[in-house]
């Protein structure tokens, strides 16, 4: 924070003055304008499932958001390890990003899954192993969010968030492997050379890949913006500190 106070530049956020830097967030925003309708087209054109009929299409929302949710918590974990090793603020920012996006995508995954389950299994909710583990994971990370908000000192906040991220990560492999450990559940195994794995038809696989790419775009966009927000907050805090210092002198 001290470094911020040294180079005080008010007004610009870095990309207005001087040489115009490539703003990746803006690039992503414009490409998403095309990729979202394209993905929707793919989803509509994809063949319907033999048993699940039209409802199977929600799968193209369900799976990407869940993959990104696990990815976010992995990012949180990596940020935690980085903070543990270096005690640098940038790892702390990475942790917040991972934590918040993870909870967000977990909620999307659960809601889409729940709607789909109503048609596929006849119920909104059932305690199959993957649902159980996902629920536990979500509750764990919500608790992590609470932990973060109940510490005031920024260094301690980061330290406790890091510890929680490393410890809480134990749930992520549990979620991923739950379909393999407890095969009695209702979720199929999708990845890997497993004779029990559900085979997707060619065009379905293509659609899935397209929707994963689009969702990842969205994910990266959110990540960039979240990191930027935290950097701006740091900057505001630095400016505020500098202002109070001046007041003290006067």
């Amino acid at each position: 924070m001290a470094t911020v106070t040294k180079r005080m530049d008010f007004g610009s956020s870095g990309n207005v003055t001087g040489k115009r830097k490539l703003d990746w967030a803006r690039v992503l925003l414009w490409t998403m304008l095309f990729s979202f309708p394209l993905t929707l087209l793919f989803i509509l054109l994809a063949p319907s499932d033999f048993e699940l009929k039209y409802s199977q299409r929600i799968f193209y929302f369900h799976l990407p958001s869940n993959i990104l949710c696990l990815l976010s918590f992995t990012i949180y974990f990596v940020g935690g390890l980085g903070y543990w090793r270096t005690r640098k603020r940038k790892w702390d920012i990475l942790m917040i990003t991972g934590l918040e996006l993870g909870v967000f995508f977990a909620l999307i995954g659960i809601v889409t899954g729940s709607i789909w389950a109503r048609y596929a299994w006849g119920t909104f909710w059932t305690w199959d192993p993957r649902l159980t583990t996902v629920t536990i994971m979500l509750v764990v990370y919500l608790a992590g969010w609470m932990l973060r908000s109940s510490v005031e000192d920024p260094n301690r906040k980061a330290a406790l968030t890091a510890v929680f991220g490393i410890v809480g990560f134990i749930n992520v492999p549990l979620v991923y492997f739950s379909t393999r450990f407890f095969p009695a559940g209702l979720h199929p195994v999708i990845f890997g050379a497993n004779d029990k794995a559900v085979a997707l038809e060619g065009f379905m696989t293509l659609t899935l890949v397209v929707s994963i790419i689009t969702f990842s775009q969205f994910f990266i966009y959110l990540m960039i913006q979240r990191i930027r927000l935290e950097n701006l907050r740091d900057k505001v805090a630095g400016v505020r500190m500098a202002l109070y210092e001046d007041e003290d002198l006067a």
Binding site: W84, T132, I136, V139, V140, L142, A143, G144, M146, L147, S150, V151, E152, N155, R156, A159, L160, A162, V163, F164, I166, V167, G168, I170, N171, L174, F181, F182
Partner: protein
Amino acid sequence: MDRARTAKQDRELETGSTRASFVLPAYLRVAWEVYRKDVRTELRTKEIFSAMSIFSLLVVMVFVFALPGKLKEAGDVAPGLLWIAFTFAGVLGLNRSFINEKDRGSLEGLLLVPTDRSAIFYGKALGNFTFIIIVELLLAPIFSLLFNFSVLRLELLPVLLLGTIGFAEIGTLFAAMAVNTRAREVLLPVLFFPIMLPVIIAASQSTAAILANRPFEEINSALGLMIFFDLIFLVVPALLFELVLEE
């Protein structure tokens, strides 16, 4: 070796403790001393123990009155209720283990130990394990009596041990984390229960299976999960404890 021994004896003379007659590495010695300190404090004040045992008794009584008078299948609910009672009582004890240190101002003193701080974790975790297991062993007969359903089976001991080890390890880590936050007493269960949930599920499932005389193979994966958690949380908190107690 000989010199080490005399140095240790000197130290023992200084501190007035001669009970440990075998040589321990400094690290284990710190952990052991933390443990002994906790047990001794507890023996003098009986603060944690009395609160935990009375509270767990009250929880069981609430269950007895809240559930219909004549349970047809007590075996269906008893294992879960037993573990809920253990968990609630345990959190109460865990909360005190670091809050007491903080309030008495002795945490800073503890942090001055000249070895790795994870020694404090092991000492504290062992202390918490001892308190919780004693309360559990006392509660089980009372529970059987009040529910008119015996949970006193020797085969349950491994399940009880595995569950309680995980409980003490995870709980000690989170108690140390929660002590430095704003709503510390409230935050501990919020942090602790979700992470603990897989262990509680596994413990109550295997308890139910054993009490119903179901085959042992059925609880293999539950026991495996508990062993997995116990081992992970034996190592990971020790690595992170420096970060937890950082000033």
